[in-house]
Subunit: 210 residues, 2 copies
DNA sequence: CAATATTGGAGATCAGCACTATCCAATGTC
DNA sequence: GACATTGGATAGTGCTGATCTCCAATATTG
C-alpha cells in the first residue's frame, strides 16, 4: 500500500487518528500531499516516521522536544554521523544545575586517563559530575577504579557501534546510526539489569547454608 | 546540627519549604518528631533522605511512585540485596505493551547462551524484546553478535557491582547497594555517550582528507 | 506579658506534557 | 441529493510534580 488516507495511516501505525493529527500539528510528522482542501495522502514514509517517533518516546524515553531535535537531524542529510550524534547527545545530556569542582576534576581525570577527545562545552561532563556528586552525597562515592571499569565497558560498546557505522553507514547518512545508538541505550541498561539479577542470584545461592 | 526545624531542613537540602511539605504528605519523607501541635523537629536523617529522593528523581530519572518503592526497600532491613534489587528492577523495567515472539525468542536465546538465571515472570525480558522489535521495525535489527557484545559489557559491570556488594554490604543491608546500582545506571549511559563521541571523533578525523 | 513573626498542616491551585475530544466546513460516496 | 467521512483548528483531559494560600498554634522579642 503506497498511498493512504489519514485513517489508514492511523490504522497502519496502531495509533489513534487524534494522535496522528497531533504529531502533524507538532511538526513531527510531515504533512501529506494535499489532494484538495480537506484531504491529503500519506505513504510508507509516514508509517515509518510514526514508528520512529514511538520508538524514540517509548523505548528511548525521549520527550517530544527531544524527538523533534532528533528528527531534524534525521531529515538533514548534510550532517555526518559525528556531527549529528554530537548534537543529539549534547541535547540529551543537557540538564540544570551545577557540579562540585571535585566531581568535575574526577571526570576530567578520567577523560585524561582515557585520552578521550571531547568537545567543549561538554554536557556529558557536567551530567556525569552531577551523578558523582549525588553518589558522594549518599556516602557512596564512586572510586576512580570503579569509573575505569565502567568506562571500559562503555568504550567497548561505543567502539563497536562506531565501527559498525564506519562500515555500513558512512555514506548512507546519519539517520540509521543515530537512531540505532539511541535505541541501544536502553538495551544496554536492560542487559545490565539482567546480568545483575543473574550475578546476584549466584551470589545469594552460593552463600546459602543448607 | 542534629536537630532542626522544617525551614532549616529546607535550607540544608536546598529545596523550597513547600517541596519538603509535599514530600512529607506523599510519605516519602518520614514526619519529624512533633514538639507541639504545630512544630516538629527534623535531623540529619531527613537531610539525607531528601538527598536520596532528589538523586533518584534527578539523576536516576525515577518517578515519585518508583522512588516510594525504592524507599520502602531501603527502610526494610529484612530483605537481602538480592531480593531488594529484584523488586526494584522489576518495577523499573515494567511497561505496557507486548513483544513479538521473534524478539522474545532472540532474548531467550541470549539468556540461554549466557546461562543467566532469571526469575519468571521477568519484565526485563519483555522490555528488551520490545526494544528489539522497535529496532527491527526501523530496519535496524540487532544481531545476536551485537547483543553478545552488549551483554559482555553489561555483565562486566554487573559482576563488578555484585562483587562489591558481597564484599561491603552483605550485612549492612541493601540500601547502599540498591542506591548505588540505580545511580550508576546513568553513569554507564553517560560514559557510553562520551566514549562514542571520542570514537566518532577519531573516525571522522582519520577519514579526513587534507 | 503583650505584640509580632514564624511554623507547619491541609487544601486548592498551578504548570508542563502528551494526548484526546469536539466542532465544523469541505468533500467524497451511494 | 442525502449522508457519512475527512482533516484542520480549538479547547479540554489526565497525570505528575510542585507551589500557593490560609490559618491557628506557637515561639521570640521588647
Amino acid at each position: 500500500m503506497l498511498s493512504m488516507w489519514m485513517s489508514d495511516l492511523a490504522a497502519a501505525s496502531g495509533l489513534p487518528v487524534a494522535t496522528v493529527k497531533f504529531y502533524l500539528r507538532e511538526g513531527l510528522l510531515p504533512p501529506g500531499e494535499a489532494t484538495g482542501a480537506t484531504r491529503a495522502r500519506y505513504d510508507d514514509s509516514h508509517v515509518k516516521r510514526l514508528r520512529l517517533i514511538r520508538a524514540l518516546t517509548e523505548v528511548a524515553g525521549l520527550r517530544l522536544d527531544a524527538v523533534r531535535a532528533v528528527l531534524a537531524m534525521v531529515d538533514d542529510d548534510s550532517r555526518s554521523f559525528h556531527q549529528a550524534m554530537g548534537s543529539v547527545h549534547h541535547r540529551l545530556s543537557a540538564g540544570r544545575g551545577d557540579a562540585s569542582p571535585m566531581a568535575l576534576a574526577q571526570v576530567d581525570a578520567l577523560v585524561a586517563r582515557r585520552g578521550w577527545q571531547l568537545y567543549e562545552p561538554n554536557p556529558h561532563r557536567l551530567a556525569l559530575a552531577r551523578a558523582l556528586d549525588a553518589l558522594a552525597g549518599l556516602d557512596h562515592a564512586a572510586s576512580d577504579d570503579l569509573l575505569d571499569d565502567y568506562a571500559d565497558a562503555a568504550q567497548a560498546v561505543a567502539e563497536r557501534d562506531v565501527a559498525a557505522v564506519g562500515r555500513e553507514d558512512r555514506v548512507a547518512g546519519a539517520e540509521h546510526a543515530v537512531v540505532g545508538t539511541l535505541l541501544l541505550e536502553p538495551v544496554l541498561v536492560l542487559l545490565r539489569r539482567m546480568a545483575q539479577e543473574d550475578a546476584s542470584a549466584r551470589l545469594s545461592e552460593g552463600s546459602r547454608k543448607s
